[in-house]
């Protein structure tokens, strides 16, 4: 009776079925334990962990220089920037826009810098559904090698005040 005190001696040995269940569960838990460590070495897509401190003003300056050097066009007032192969790309998150639009080439490796100028945002690439958290004051550095051509939508999936749903952007892979 779970709502009454148990009998005086309740530390009894486990029954046969209980021992079997606990053993199977424990073996499975320990298998998962090692599997999830192993997956960092076996798996292809790992969590990015490189981060630098940066102020919003510094990040803005770096992005402005990057846009000025590599701008190839414009869409809806947002610059389209062709990133030099193997080079650094800067992407600003701010209320309520991703800027600039990045143009990448398939099979080339890029260093993508992500940071916010105001509040927290969520970097979400669609339709592949890849998601990262973006902070102001942190330069989140992600190594990207696009393997499929196409246009990828960017949305924000961290609530960033009442215009949150207006915040979109784009990455073009050629």
């Amino acid at each position: 009776m779970a709502i009454f005190s148990p009998e005086r001696v309740w530390w009894k040995p486990l029954g046969r079925e209980e021992r079997l269940w606990v053993t199977v569960s424990a073996v499975w838990c320990f298998f998962m334990f090692f599997m999830l460590i192993g997956w960092y070495f076996l798996g292809a897509q790992n969590l990015p962990t490189k981060t630098m401190r940066i102020t919003p003003a510094q990040f803005q300056t770096l992005t402005d220089a990057f846009v000025q050097a590599n701008k190839v066009g414009e869409e809806a007032g947002i610059p389209i920037v062709h990133v030099p192969a193997g080079g650094d790309a800067y992407l600003i998150a701010k209320q309520w826009q991703w800027t600039p639009i990045l143009e990448l080439e398939v099979g080339k490796t890029y260093t993508l810098h992500l940071s916010s100028l105001d509040v927290q945002h969520g970097f979400s690439v669609q339709p592949i559904n890849l998601n990262l958290q973006i902070f102001p004051g942190y330069d989140f550095i992600v190594t990207v090698t696009p393997n499929r051509t196409g246009e990828y939508g960017l949305i924000c999936n961290e609530f960033c005040s009442i215009g949150h749903h207006l915040m979109t952007g784009k990455i073009i892979v050629k």
């Binding site: 927290q120 890849l130 958290q133 949305i155």
Partner: protein, 521 residues
């Protein structure tokens, strides 16, 4: 009413008790008043949060799209706070007082302090709700800085947390006093052990909340700065661990409901208690799963927290997943329901609301909520799941389909035994767990599917109609969003049934319970 009084050995004062004629439990009358007030306030919070749930569900349903964007975000903030914090914690306060007094034949220590705690929690929750409705706190439940709310919002949040800390302290003090005054023989009941687990987890959880929210309040008052990354680490030490309090309390209630409905006895007390102990040691690591795709945290941190010790807490859950159904099976077989492999299950009292609530809660938590949480806790999968509706689907299966439904089932026993009133509208009671359970299954599965397709959480318009650059999610997403809307309508209907029964029962004539089964009491 048979009122008796027993002297308290230290103070010499006398506590007033009554003896419940059905369970022979001794109920401290001072604790009883606190249980009633906390439980009623919890149901008020649930009603407000449920109304918001209806409006939010009808807004995310693409063809209905009811609310304007600001009101959607406003009520979503209110929904999260009223449901995840106010409803659950007020109910848990009632549960802790009930467990430590009635189940131990003991008295509540610090009754005045308990009323202070209640007042702090009430004032805190009112301040938060007012700030949210005034549009001064459109920041969501998580309130990540530098997104800022009115300072009074954080004051309310902190007052509530302080009240909750007091509740835990009163629980622990009463537990010690019950032992000192020899109110019970031997070890405490398993249900109280589960509540103790919840209270211990609650203390470090609330401390973590204070570390997150107090500097944020100071920052809003112009003192110092708040680092967004550090806030998220400490906030989720509160926000996610708070759900582990719910988990422990829910499992304590699962064991209690199994006893109340079919007379089940824990198969092995040692194993069940060990499983609770695993939670205390390891389950707080679950909170790190919010931070796997954050900048700022290093590889070693993310390596460690994607699995590892977390799986020892999963082991605890797997033990309960065995022990509770096994206890029910043993009890049913002892009653003679031995036909076939599942005769005991088919002949179980499905018409008793406590039992159907228990089974739905077990099923939704055990097969949807728990497993989805473990899966999205893996680092690589978290890249696909972070901040999508898949997360929302996960926690609606744990804290709503699991915890809330278990609490609802338990309420039907509390009303005759503690409120001493027969249940109002018994046909509604019979079907309430079914309606609510089926609604929540639909909600949590369709939310998860929409999230897998890319639908973000906390989002007013996933068609991105007014955005400068068009983005389109897979067309199946709209179907999933619609199913969530329909599921929400069904679940809200179940919620309304619950509130109608509870409020209606408050106006039933007062009388002693006649039977344990709430349908006959």
């Amino acid at each position: 009413m048979a009122a008796i009084s027993a002297p308290n050995i230290f103070t010499g004062t006398k506590s007033q008790y009554r003896v419940c004629p059905v369970t022979t439990l001794k109920v401290d009358l001072a604790a009883e008043r606190l249980i009633i007030w906390n439980a009623v306030t919890a149901i008020v919070a649930l009603t407000v949060g449920g109304l918001y749930a209806l409006l939010i569900g009808l807004t995310r349903w693409p063809d209905v799209h009811l609310l304007s964007a600001p009101w959607f975000y406003r009520l979503l903030t209110g929904h999260g706070l009223n449901m995840l914090v106010f409803w659950i914690v007020f109910f848990e306060a009632a549960g802790l007082y009930f467990g430590v007094t009635a189940l131990l034949n003991a008295r509540l220590v610090g009754v005045r302090l308990a009323w202070v705690a209640f007042a702090l929690m009430l004032i805190g929750s009112l301040m938060v709700n007012v700030m949210v409705l005034m549009g001064k706190a459109d920041v969501m439940f998580s309130a990540y800085p530098p997104l800022a709310a009115d300072p009074l919002f954080y004051v309310g949040y902190i007052l509530f947390a302080v009240g909750a800390i007091l509740v835990c302290c009163i629980f622990l003090a009463s537990l010690v006093m019950a032992k000192v005054e020899r109110r019970y023989e031997g070890s405490m009941p398993l249900a109280v052990f589960g509540l103790l687990t919840a209270a211990i987890i609650a203390l470090f959880t609330l401390a973590s909340g204070a570390v997150a929210l107090i500097p944020t309040l100071l920052w809003r008052l112009g003192i110092g700065e708040v680092d967004p990354g550090a806030y998220r680490v400490t906030f989720w030490g509160f926000g996610h661990s708070a759900q582990q309090i719910n988990l422990s309390a829910m499992i304590a209630i699962w064991y209690s409901l199994a006893t109340l409905t079919v007379g089940a006895k824990p198969v092995n007390e040692k194993l069940s208690r060990f499983a609770f102990f695993l939670y205390i040691l390891f389950i707080n690591l679950g909170s790190m799963h919010h931070l796997l795709v954050d900048p700022g945290l290093g590889s070693a941190n993310k390596f460690f927290n994607t699995s590892y010790a977390m799986y020892l807490a999963v082991l605890g859950s797997l033990i309960h997943a065995f022990s509770i159904p096994a206890a029910i099976e043993v009890a049913m077989r002892e009653k003679g329901y031995n036909k076939g492999l599942f005769g005991w299950l088919l002949n179980a009292p499905w018409k008793e609301p406590g039992f159907s609530a228990l089974m739905f809660s077990l099923f939704i938590f055990g097969f949807i909520g728990g497993p989805t949480g473990v899966v999205i806790g893996a680092g690589q999968i978290n890249l696909l799941a972070h901040n999508t509706w898949r997360i929302t689907g996960h926690f609606h299966a744990t804290v709503v389909g699991g915890t809330t439904l278990a609490f609802m089932g338990f309420t039907y026993y509390v009303i005759p035994l503690i409120f001493r009133r027969p249940l109002f509208a018994k046909p509604l009671v019979r079907w309430q767990p079914w309606v609510y359970g089926i609604g929540m299954i639909l909600v949590s599965i369709s939310m998860t599917m929409a999230g897998v397709l890319g639908a973000p959480r906390r989002h007013w318009d996933t068609t991105f109609t007014n955005a400068a650059i068009p983005v389109q999610l897979p067309s199946l997403t709209n179907l999933m969003l619609t199913l969530t809307g329909i599921g929400a309508l069904i679940a809200v209907t179940g919620g309304i049934m619950y509130v109608v029964v509870c409020v209606g029962s408050l106006f039933m004539p007062k009388r002693e319970a006649r039977a344990l089964d709430p349908m006959e009491a």
